[in-house]
C-alpha cells in the first residue's frame, strides 16, 4: 500500500468539488425565531389563515420541547436564535416564467454541479423542480405531467392552487408535534415539493428535485409531501450538494409520503451535503424526519438512500404499514469519512395484517467517523402474519472509526416473524492483494470492493442515480485505506 501513499495523501485532502458560493442578493429575514418571524414567513408567502395557524401551533409546541440527545452523535449546542429562518433569491419577485428568466448565475451554479436544466430536460426526460435555498425557481415538464392530472410543483404553489389537497394531507404522517425538528420545520418551513398522483395513474417519468443550501447561516427547512392516490405509481428522486462553508448549517427537512390503496411510492435520495473538512470543521447538520404511510391495502413504500455527505446525519426514513398486505422497504448506504457522524436507519411499524418489510443497511466508516444504524421494527397486536427481514452490515476502514448497530425489535403478535442480522468487517488485505496482482490500484480496488459491498442497495436506485452514487462512493472514500 505504501507505494501509493502520495496519491492517497492527495486524495484524502481533495477539496469538496461542489464547494462554492453563488453571490445572489438574498431576501433574508434577520436571525432569530419568534411568533413574529413565523407570521412574517407566512405573510411573505401569502399563505391562507389556516396554514398560519398550523405553523403557530407547531411553533408553540416546539417551545415546549427539548432537543433530543439520544442519537449517537456529538456536536456543540445549536443556537436557534442565530439562524435566519427565511431566505429567497431576490429575483423571485416577478417569478420566472421560463428558463430564460431565471437568474443566469443560478443556472451557472447548476452547471457547475453538472446538472444543467436544459440538458436534463432534453436528455434524461426528468422534470426538475429545483430548489435554490428555499424557493423554487424553475419547474419543467409541467404540461406533460398535467396531461395525466399529476400535480408536481413547489409547496407554496400547491398551497395556492391545490389548498384542499394540501390541507387534507399535510401533517397527517409527520405530525407537527412529532419531534423537536419536525415541530421546528412545521413552524418555519419555507418551501419544498408537492406531488399528487391521481387514481390509477402511473407517473410517466422520474420526478426529481435538487436541493441546495446556499446563503450562509440560513437553515433550510424543506417540506415535501407526496400523495399517491389509489392504484397509482410514482418514483421520486432527491439529490443534494452544498457549497463549502466554515460554519455549521442546520438542515431540518420533513418528508411525508401517503400511499393509498394499491399505490406505490419509490423515494430515492443521494445526499451529498458538505461534510466539513478533514479536521471536522464546518459541514451540514442534517436532522431530517422522513416518514411514509401505507394507508391503503396492498400499498407499497420504498426508501432508497445513499448518504455520503453532512457533518452529522440524523435520519430515519420510516414506514407505517397500516393497510393490510402493505409493504415497506428501506435500502441504505451510509458512508462516513474524516469526522463525519451518521445516526441513521428506519422504523417499520406493522399495523395491518400480512404486512411485510425489508431493511438492508450498509454502513461504511473511515477516518475518524462514527456510523450508527438505529432501527425499529414494531409489530403491533393487530398485525397478524407480519414479516420483517433486516440485514445491517458495516465496513470499517481504519482503526479510529466506529460502526454501531442499535436495532429495536418489539413484537406483540405471535404470528409475526422477525429476523435481524448484522455483521462487521473490514476490507481484507488479501482482497486488496488480489486486486493489486491484477494491476488494479488500491483506490480502484477500494472503490470496487465498496461498490460490491453496497450493491444490494445501489441496484435499487434508478439508473441515473445509480451511476452518480457509484462515483460518489468511490470519490468519498479514495485514500481511506492505505
Amino acid at each position: 500500500m505504501s507505494a501509493s501513499s502520495e496519491t492517497v495523501e492527495e486524495l484524502v485532502h481533495k477539496a469538496y468539488p461542489h464547494g462554492f458560493v453563488t453571490e445572489i442578493d438574498a431576501d433574508t429575514v434577520p436571525p432569530g425565531l419568534s411568533e413574529d418571524v413565523v407570521r412574517l414567513i407566512s405573510a411573505k408567502k401569502g399563505e391562507p389563515e389556516w396554514l398560519l395557524e398550523w405553523r403557530l401551533k407547531a411553533y408553540r409546541h416546539w417551545l415546549t420541547l427539548r432537543e433530543p440527545t439520544w442519537a449517537h452523535v456529538h456536536h456543540g449546542p445549536i443556537d436557534y436564535d442565530a439562524i435566519s429562518y427565511y431566505s429567497a433569491p431576490k429575483s423571485r419577485a416577478d417569478g420566472p416564467k421560463s428558463l430564460e428568466e431565471v437568474d443566469p448565475r443560478l443556472l451557472e451554479t447548476y452547471k457547475k454541479l453538472g446538472i444543467p436544466l436544459e440538458e436534463q430536460m432534453a436528455l434524461a426526460g426528468i422534470a426538475v423542480d429545483a430548489v435554490f435555498d428555499s424557493v423554487s425557481v424553475a419547474t419543467t415538464f409541467k404540461e406533460k405531467l398535467a396531461a395525466h392530472g399529476i400535480v408536481f410543483c413547489s409547496f407554496s404553489e400547491a398551497v395556492r392552487n391545490h389548498p384542499e389537497l394540501v390541507r387534507q394531507y399535510l401533517g397527517t404522517v409527520v405530525w407537527p408535534t412529532d419531534n423537536f425538528f419536525a415541530a421546528l420545520n412545521s413552524a418555519v418551513f419555507s418551501d419544498g415539493s408537492f406531488v399528487y398522483i391521481p387514481k390509477g395513474v402511473r407517473c410517466p417519468m422520474e420526478l426529481s428535485t435538487y436541493f441546495r443550501i446556499n446563503a450562509s447561516k440560513t437553515g433550510q427547512f424543506e417540506r415535501t409531501l407526496i400523495v399517491a392516490d389509489e392504484g397509482s405509481y410514482v418514483s421520486y428522486l432527491e439529490g443534494c450538494t452544498a457549497p463549502m462553508r466554515d460554519e455549521n448549517q442546520l438542515h431540518a427537512a420533513v418528508v411525508e409520503l401517503v400511499a393509498l390503496q394499491d399505490a406505490q411510492i419509490k423515494y430515492s435520495t443521494v445526499q451529498n451535503w458538505y461534510p466539513g473538512d478533514e479536521e471536522g470543521r464546518g459541514g451540514i447538520y442534517n436532522f431530517v424526519t422522513k416518514r411514509g404511510e401505507c394507508r391503503g391495502a396492498r400499498s407499497k413504500i420504498s426508501w432508497t438512500q445513499v448518504e455520503t455527505g453532512s457533518a452529522i446525519t440524523w435520519k430515519y426514513p420510516s414506514c407505517i404499514l397500516r393497510g393490510d398486505h402493505s409493504v415497506g422497504e428501506f435500502y441504505s448506504v451510509a458512508l462516513t469519512n474524516h469526522y463525519q457522524q451518521a445516526d441513521t436507519g428506519t422504523k417499520m411499524v406493522h399495523i395491518g395484517k400480512n404486512t411485510s418489510s425489508t431493511i438492508i443497511s450498509k454502513g461504511i466508516s473511515a477516518g475518524r467517523a462514527q456510523n450508527s444504524y438505529r432501527g425499529l421494527v414494531k409489530v403491533t397486536k393487530s398485525a397478524d402474519g407480519a414479516r420483517n427481514y433486516t440485514q445491517c452490515d458495516s465496513l470499517l476502514m481504519g482503526e479510529r472509526c466506529g460502526a454501531h448497530t442499535f436495532p429495536y425489535i418489539e413484537v406483540a403478535n405471535p404470528t409475526a416473524r422477525v429476523e435481524h442480522e448484522a455483521s462487521t468487517s473490514k476490507i481484507g488485505e488479501d482482497q486488496l492483494f488480489y486486486c493489486a496482482q491484477r494491476g488494479i490500484s488500491p483506490e480502484d480496488a477500494v472503490s470496487l470492493i465498496v461498490n460490491g459491498f453496497a450493491k444490494e442497495v445501489i441496484r435499487e436506485l434508478p439508473m441515473e442515480f445509480a451511476v452518480e452514487a457509484q462515483k460518489l462512493l468511490g470519490v468519498s472514500l479514495e485514500g481511506a485505506v492505505g
Binding site: 456529538h74 409489530v379 482503526e399 466506529g402 413484537v411 405471535p414 429476523e419 435481524h420 442480522e421 462487521t424
Partner: protein, 455 residues
C-alpha cells in the same frame, strides 16, 4: 451512552413518599445489620440511601428501562428483611439438584442459615464463607470489594443502603475447586413485603478454576423484592463457570446485577436461567480487561401469566484478541413480556476481537410480547462481530409432522418448545444441573391453553 444523557434519572412524582419510607427503614435497620459497628460500612450504607434519595426508582423514560416498568415495585413499601426463623431441612429439598455433590451455602431472606448449609471440607487456598462472617472477623478484607460498586440505579443504591449478607468466595492462584459451590437463596414469605439483599463476591487468583451455582427460590407466596449483586474478578488464566437459576414465586420481584472483570486469558461462562419471579431484571456486564480473554453468556427465560423478564447484558472488549459468544433464548406465553438488550462494545485498540451474539424468541400467545435489542458498538476495525435476533413461533412444518403422527397440538408444541430450550441447557457442564433443568422446562412450557395460536 449518549442515550442516557438528560432526563431519565429524575425522581417521578409521588416518589418522595418512597424515599421517605426507605430513609425510615434505613434508620430503623442501621444498628442491626451485620458490621454495624464498622465505620466505613456504615458510611457505605449511608452513601447508598443518599444516592437512592437522589435517583429514586428508574422510569421507562430511562433508555435502559424503557421496556420495564418498575412502578409495581416502587408502589410497595418494602420492609428490610429481618433474620427469619430457619425452615426445616425438608423445605430445602425442592431447590437442590439431585445427585449434585457441592459445597452448599444456604441463605434465608438474605441471611446465612448455617443449619441448612453444608460447606463441606475445602481445599487449601479456598476461602468460602458468608459475607456477614467475613465482616465480623476481618472487615477490612471485604472493604475493597464492597466499596467499588458504581451506583447507577435506585436498585443499586437500595442494595448498598441495606447491604447485609451474602457470599465470599476467594481462590488462591493455581487452585482448582473440583466440586461446585451451590448457593441457595430462599425467600420466606412474611406478612409484609420484604426486601432481601444478597451480595456475592467471587475472586479467582491466577489460573484458579471454579464452578458456582446460584439458586433463588421462595417458600410460601409472600411478596417482596430480592436484589442481588455479584462481583467477579478473574485474574490471569482463571476460569469460572457461573450458573444462575431463578425460580422465585410470581409475587417476588428480582433485580440482579453481575459485574465481571476478566484478566488476561481468563474464561468466564455464564448460564442464566430465569423461570420465576414477577418482575425480573438481570444486568450482566463483563469487561475483558486483559488480552485474549473469553466470555460466554448463555441465557434462557421462560415466562407466562403476567411475568415480566428483562435481561441486559454488556460485553466490553477493552483489550485485543478477546472472544465472546452469547446465546439468549426466550419463550413467552400468557400475558408475559420478555426483554433482551445485549450490548457488545469493542473499545478503540481492541483489535482481533471475535464476537458473536444471538437472541432468539418464541412467542406462544396472543397477549405475550417480546422486545429485543442486540447492540454492536465498535471502535476498532480489525474485528469480527456479528449478531442476530429472531422473533417467531414454532415451525409449522414440524408441528404438522408431529400431528400427522397422532400427537395432539399441545403435546407437539411442548416437544418443540423443549427442543428450543434444550440448546441452552446442553451448553452446561454439570449433569445434575442439566437434568433438573430439563425437568423444570417441561413444567414451565406454556400449557395447551395457549395452543389456540397455531399458524
Amino acid at each position: 451512552m449518549s442515550a442516557r444523557a438528560g432526563a431519565a434519572t429524575a425522581v417521578p412524582g409521588g416518589a418522595q413518599a418512597a424515599v421517605e419510607h426507605y430513609l425510615g427503614e434505613h434508620t430503623r435497620s442501621a444498628g442491626s445489620l451485620p458490621g454495624a459497628g464498622t465505620a466505613w460500612l456504615r458510611e457505605l450504607r449511608e452513601q447508598g440511601i443518599e444516592r437512592f434519595a437522589d435517583l429514586g426508582f428508574p422510569s421507562t423514560r430511562d433508555e435502559h428501562w424503557r421496556y420495564t416498568s418498575v412502578a409495581p415495585i416502587a408502589a410497595q413499601r418494602l420492609r428490610v428483611a429481618l433474620p427469619a426463623p430457619v425452615p426445616a431441612p425438608e423445605a430445602l429439598a425442592p431447590f437442590l439438584f439431585p445427585g449434585l455433590d457441592a459445597h452448599r451455602l444456604v441463605f434465608v431472606n438474605g441471611r446465612y442459615a448455617a443449619e441448612l448449609s453444608a460447606p463441606g471440607s475445602l481445599p487449601d487456598g479456598v476461602h468460602l464463607d458468608s459475607l456477614a462472617q467475613v465482616l465480623a472477623a476481618a472487615p477490612e478484607r471485604a472493604r475493597p470489594a464492597l466499596s467499588g460498586l458504581a451506583l447507577r440505579t435506585g436498585f443499586d443504591a437500595l442494595h448498598q443502603a441495606f447491604l447485609a449478607d451474602g457470599v465470599w468466595l476467594e481462590l488462591a492462584a493455581g487452585v482448582a475447586l473440583a466440586r461446585p459451590v451451590h448457593l441457595v437463596h430462599l425467600g420466606v414469605g412474611a406478612a409484609e413485603p420484604a426486601l432481601a439483599n444478597l451480595r456475592t463476591v467471587i475472586s479467582l487468583g491466577a489460573r484458579a478454576e471454579a464452578r458456582v451455582i446460584e439458586s433463588f427460590g421462595s417458600l410460601g407466596s409472600g411478596a417482596g423484592l430480592t436484589t442481588a449483586v455479584t462481583t467477579v474478578v478473574l485474574a490471569e488464566g482463571a476460569a469460572l463457570e457461573h450458573f444462575k437459576l431463578q425460580e422465585e414465586a410470581a409475587t417476588v420481584d428480582h433485580v440482579a446485577r453481575v459485574e465481571v472483570r476478566q484478566g488476561r486469558d481468563s474464561r468466564y461462562t455464564s448460564h442464566s436461567v430465569s423461570l420465576g419471579g414477577g418482575i425480573t431484571r438481570n444486568d450482566i456486564t463483563s469487561t475483558l480487561e486483559g488480552e485474549g480473554a473469553e466470555c460466554t453468556l448463555n441465557g434462557l427465560y421462560m415466562a407466562a401469566g403476567r411475568q415480566h423478564v428483562d435481561f441486559h447484558t454488556t460485553i466490553d472488549h477493552a483489550e485485543p484478541r478477546g472472544t465472546s459468544r452469547e446465546l439468549y433464548k426466550g419463550i413467552l406465553g400468557g400475558r408475559a413480556r420478555g426483554v433482551f438488550n445485549g450490548r457488545i462494545l469493542v473499545q478503540p485498540g481492541a483489535q482481533k476481537t471475535d464476537s458473536q451474539q444471538s437472541s432468539q424468541n418464541l412467542l406462544l400467545s396472543r397477549e405475550a410480547e417480546v422486545d429485543t435489542k442486540p447492540e454492536l458498538e465498535i471502535y476498532a476495525d480489525d474485528v469480527k462481530c456479528s449478531h442476530g435476533a429472531t422473533v417467531g413461533q414454532l415451525d409449522a412444518d414440524m408441528l404438522f409432522y408431529l400431528r400427522s403422527r397422532g400427537i395432539d397440538h399441545g403435546t407437539a408444541q411442548g416437544f418443540l418448545t423443549r427442543g428450543f430450550a434444550q440448546d441452552v441447557i446442553d451448553r452446561m457442564s454439570i449433569d445434575a444441573v442439566r437434568e433438573r433443568l430439563e425437568r423444570l422446562v417441561v413444567t414451565h412450557v406454556p400449557g395447551p391453553e395457549s395452543a389456540q395460536v397455531s399458524p
